[in-house]
């Protein structure tokens, strides 16, 4: 077992894990944070997206041991205390989810986009989100929600 200390959603957290365990597995099984989902376990769907030192990663492709001393943000850490992040609100306003399973991954991914490109074009949104699979919505409303959140942040 290895001992890992990290900052998770703004709080110091430590856990024990086996060297072979992915970050996704530890988040879900050890830390009880089930917002990141397993859709494919090999980096093809984005349902497990988290931010590692602010960069968008698939938690299924990161070993839990790799987050030692680093900063993690999961979907559970996106909303400000007592409220919703503009992305979350716009997803609801735009009906940008049906089953909602891919939604945490999309919101984390979109946050990473807006953090580095505050005013993306539709094409930039689609390119950025091409690593997140949605089977329910056809992406239309998701893209509109992200653009609306970007606009809201500028207003």
């Amino acid at each position: 077992m290895i001992h890992v200390q990290t900052t998770l959603n703004g709080e110091p957290v430590e856990f024990l894990c086996e060297p072979r365990q992915s970050l996704l597995e530890v988040l879900r099984e050890t830390l009880g944070l089930t917002g990141a989902k397993e859709g494919c376990n090999n980096g093809n769907c984005g349902a497990c997206n988290v931010l590692l030192d602010g960069a968008l990663v698939n938690a299924c492709l990161v070993l839990a041991g790799e987050v030692q001393g680093r900063t993690l943000t999961t979907i559970e850490g996106i909303a400000p205390a007592g409220g919703l992040h503009p992305l979350q609100r716009q997803f609801l306003e735009h009906a940008a989810l049906q089953c909602g399973f891919c939604t945490p991954g999309f919101i984390v991914a979109a946050k990473a986009l807006l953090d580095c490109t505050p005013q993306p074009t539709e094409l930039e949104v689609r390119q950025w989100l091409a690593g997140n699979l949605c089977r329910c919505t056809g992406y239309d409303r998701i893209v509109r929600a992200v653009l609306a959140a970007a606009e809201e942040a500028q207003a």
Binding site: R20, R28, E29, G32, L33, T34, G35, A36, K37, E38, G39, C40, N41, N42, N44, C45, A47, T74, I75, E76, I78, A79, L84, Q88, F91, L92, E93, H94, A95, L97, Q98, C99, G100, F101, C102, T103, P104, I107, E122, V125, R126, Q127, L129, A130, G131, N132, L133, C134, R135, C136, T137, G138, Y139, D140, R141, I142, V143, R144
Partner: protein
């Protein structure tokens, strides 16, 4: 963008409140199947066949049982023997013996990935390592991977006892042809004689998967008193209870199924794969909870994709633009056990057209692939790909606009389908006219290698049994319990229908998806039935609540109940007035709680029609097709929750586009699935699609209190044909094989 046919006549229906489960879903708090945690929970793994077709000579599980951390192992020996009993699971029947064998193979494995054994251990890694130690002695048999091959007299036989069924008449010989169907009307020969133009084409479509993002997951706990609780991701908790009870020979009353939130289903999460295995393991492990979750590889290889198919279509029309004859032969892959959707495909194939002379024939054929399951308008996309491209070719060669040609031959109320049933009020013509008048269709399309295609689609929809119950809270709000799993916003659409019935705002109704112990029997969330049928149950509940509340107001005022009027949350009698909140606060003094429940089995579901328009650009060197613009037009009857109706249309279109351009199962000659992962099974991503415009037409269904028609399935029917027709107009080739992947398109361009 939406349009409605009439001005608003409803107070709540047609509005867009934020969905009630929305906050949980955007914050990651919502609990899906695999998110459940129980004390002492074990994790499971399933051993699956590496062969497509083999006899099982022996299974030795001892090494797995002895592996440290393993608590239970189960094989088919642990499943009760079932007769070849057919259970009526509402929308489709299932042969339970086949379904049991599909869960854990008995004497043969019939597809790559067929489950043989299940292991429960302290964690999933241990379970997987132990499962790999199970020794299976196989006698490998030649696989059958293509329906035409399977139908040959010398083909290897999958199921020795299978005989071709023709409406109750069984064939004599062992066969892979499970069933033969036929619908016929008029005089086909005469119809073709009357045609000035005949088009005949043969089509092939590949097996594809529903592609839900959430893999299957089921957790079961059998306690020492024999009570079974199952938490699972499913489209229908009652269906899980019924199937589990039948397969394990347990009383249904001992089984409680609690549906978790579900991450997509599209028909693939109606049949059980894991639940009975989890129950067996829980029992064998000394009554520990056992969770089984599939990997993506397992989902693709071993759940229920939909049929690949071989379809022949021949249609004739006269110079005046009238279709005079239509003929189709549909051969669908059932997978390892009988039950492809060829029957419903036969109902889709010529559905939009008035036909005096027609013949539609279907074959259900087993092959060594996973047993097919429903996929959104099952059988429909393949069928429409065939018929709507032939219709397009007829129109083009007659020099007629493709939508005008469809309008000329389009069905209306009173017209008969090929099976003889007459349509009631339907909205096909309205949909076609809306498509013609749309901004998309009116806009010119310029540029090389660009083309515009259209296609129509139909789905019959469904009713089925639904139950709901509600109680009035002391503050005048209402708590609603309903039995329909919420895959795409339905709990809110149901809250809205109760709100409409009671004249209250949606926020006053709190809707909860209830488990099998907490609400009456309700068929699953499929068949485009939920807003329609469970909505009707909710409407009945609302009527009962109104009646009971009026009685209480009458008691308060000392007047006969029929002198109390109720409207929009207020009671009145003469000069006296009372709000629902004021009345609710006094219920204890007026006779006690007010509750109501209803169960329905409504028949008057109305079919839905759609027309899709797509502009594409083809790269002639690479064969890549870019979708430039897409418009989906559809008759929703009455759009209760319009954003979510539009979203169904967009989602169906996206799945259809993936089916059209990229998705297919690729098997090697030994029957091993080569692309059981999401890198190689290529579904559309955000970069593959434009915005998808939607036009909702409302031709109310006269059979529903609010005019609702099912909407979920129709939108997947037209896209493949629409894209094929667009490709033809872009580069002049008629594609007859799905998917129209780049390599195939380039080959067709080079050949043509």
């Amino acid at each position: 963008m939406t349009t409605t046919a009439k001005p608003a006549q409803f107070k709540v229906l047609g509005s867009t409140p934020v969905r009630q489960d929305g906050v949980d879903k955007v914050t990651g708090r919502a609990q899906y199947g695999a998110d459940i945690r129980l004390p002492g929970m074990l994790s499971g793994a399933v051993l699956r066949s590496p062969h497509a077709h083999a006899r099982i000579k022996s299974i030795d599980t001892r090494a797995a049982e002895a592996y440290p951390g393993v608590r239970a192992v189960a094989t088919a020996r642990d499943l009760p023997d079932l007769e070849s009993k057919v259970a009526d699971l509402g929308e489709g029947s299932v042969n339970l013996r086949y379904q049991s064998s599909n869960l854990l193979a008995r004497d043969k494995v019939l597809y790559f990935g067929h489950a043989l054994a299940a292991v429960a251990a302290v964690n999933a890694h241990v379970a997987e390592a132990a499962a790999a130690l199970i020794q299976v002695d196989y006698e490998i048999l030649p696989p059958v991977l293509d329906v035409r091959q399977a139908m040959r007299p010398d083909a290897p036989i999958l199921l020795e006892e299978l005989r071709t069924d023709e409406l109750g008449q069984k064939g004599e010989q062992p066969t892979n042809i499970a069933a033969h169907y036929l619908d016929e009307t008029g005089d086909l020969e005469q119809g073709f004689r009357e045609a000035d133009l005949i088009v005949e084409r043969e089509f092939t479509t590949a097996m594809v998967h529903q592609g839900y993002i959430e893999p299957h997951s089921a957790t079961a706990l059998v306690t020492a008193d024999g009570q079974v609780t199952i938490w699972c991701s499913t489209q229908g908790a009652f269906g899980v209870r019924e199937q589990t009870a039948e397969i394990l020979r347990l009383p249904a009353s001992k089984i409680r199924v609690i549906p978790m939130e579900i991450g997509g289903g599209f028909g693939g999460k109606i049949g059980v794969y894991l639940e009975p295995l989890a129950v067996l393991l829980s029992r064998k492990s000394g009554h520990r909870p056992v969770k089984l979750t599939m990997s993506r590889r397992e989902v693709l290889a071993a759940t229920g994709p939909t049929s690949g198919s071989s379809i022949k279509v021949k249609m004739g029309a006269n110079r005046a633009g009238q279709i005079t004859a239509a003929q189709a032969t549909l051969i669908y892959e059932a997978g390892a056990y009988p039950g492809s959707p060829v029957g419903s495909a036969m109902g889709v194939i010529f559905a939009p057209y008035r036909l005096r002379n027609a013949r539609v024939e279907g074959y259900d054929v087993v092959v060594n692939k996973p047993r097919t399951a429903a996929y959104r308008a099952p059988g429909g996309t393949n069928a429409a790909f065939a018929s709507e491209t032939v219709v397009d070719e007829l129109a083009e060669r007659l020099g007629l606009d493709p939508l005008a040609f469809r309008l000329q031959n389009g069905v209306q109320e009173g017209d008969r389908r090929v099976n003889g049933v007459a349509y009631k009020r339907i909205g096909l013509l309205e949909v076609l006219r809306a498509a013609q008048g749309s901004a998309h269709y009116q806009a010119p399309l310029a540029g090389p290698y660009r083309g515009r295609g259209v296609a129509a689609g139909y789905w019959g929809n469904y009713g089925g049994k639904s139950s709901a119950s509600a109680s009035v809270n002391a503050d005048g709000t209402v708590s609603l319990l309903e039995g329909s799993v919420d895959i795409g916003g339905s709990r809110t659409a149901l809250a809205m229908q109760l709100a409409e019935t009671l004249g209250l705002p949606t926020e006053s109704i709190r809707a909860t998806v209830a488990d099998t112990d907490a609400v009456g029997d309700t068929e699953g969330t499929y068949g485009s039935r939920t807003t329609f049928a469970t909505g009707w149950a909710v409407y009945e509940v609302g009527q009962q609540l109104k009646a009971k509340l009026c009685e209480r107001a009458a008691r308060l005022w000392g007047v006969p109940a029929d002198q109390v009027q109720y409207a929009d949350g207020s009671f009145a009698s003469g000069e006296q007035h009372l709000t629902l909140a004021e009345l609710a606060a006094q219920l204890d003094r007026l006779g006690g709680p007010v509750v109501a429940s209803a169960a329905v089995q409504p028949k008057n579901y109305g079919p839905g029609f759609a027309a899709h328009i797509v502009d594409v650009e083809v790269d002639p060197e690479t064969g890549k097709v870019q979708v430039l613009r897409y418009t989906a037009v559809q008759d929703a009857g009455k759009a209760v929750y319009p954003n979510y109706v539009a979203s169904q249309m967009q989602g169906g279109a996206a799945q259809g586009i993936g089916w059209a351009l990229n998705e297919e199962y690729v098997y090697d000659a030994q029957g091993r699935l080569l692309n059981a992962n999401w890198l190689d099974y290529r579904m559309p991503v955000s970069l593959d699609l434009p915005m998808i415009d939607t036009l909702i037409v409302e031709v109310p269904n006269p059979g529903h209190p609010f005019g609702v028609r099912g909407v979920g399935e129709v939108p997947i029917v037209p896209p493949a044909a629409a894209v094929a027709n667009a490709i033809y107009r872009a580069v002049g080739v008629r594609m007859t094989e799905l998917p129209m992947a780049p390599g195939r398109l380039v080959a067709a361009l080079q050949a043509g």
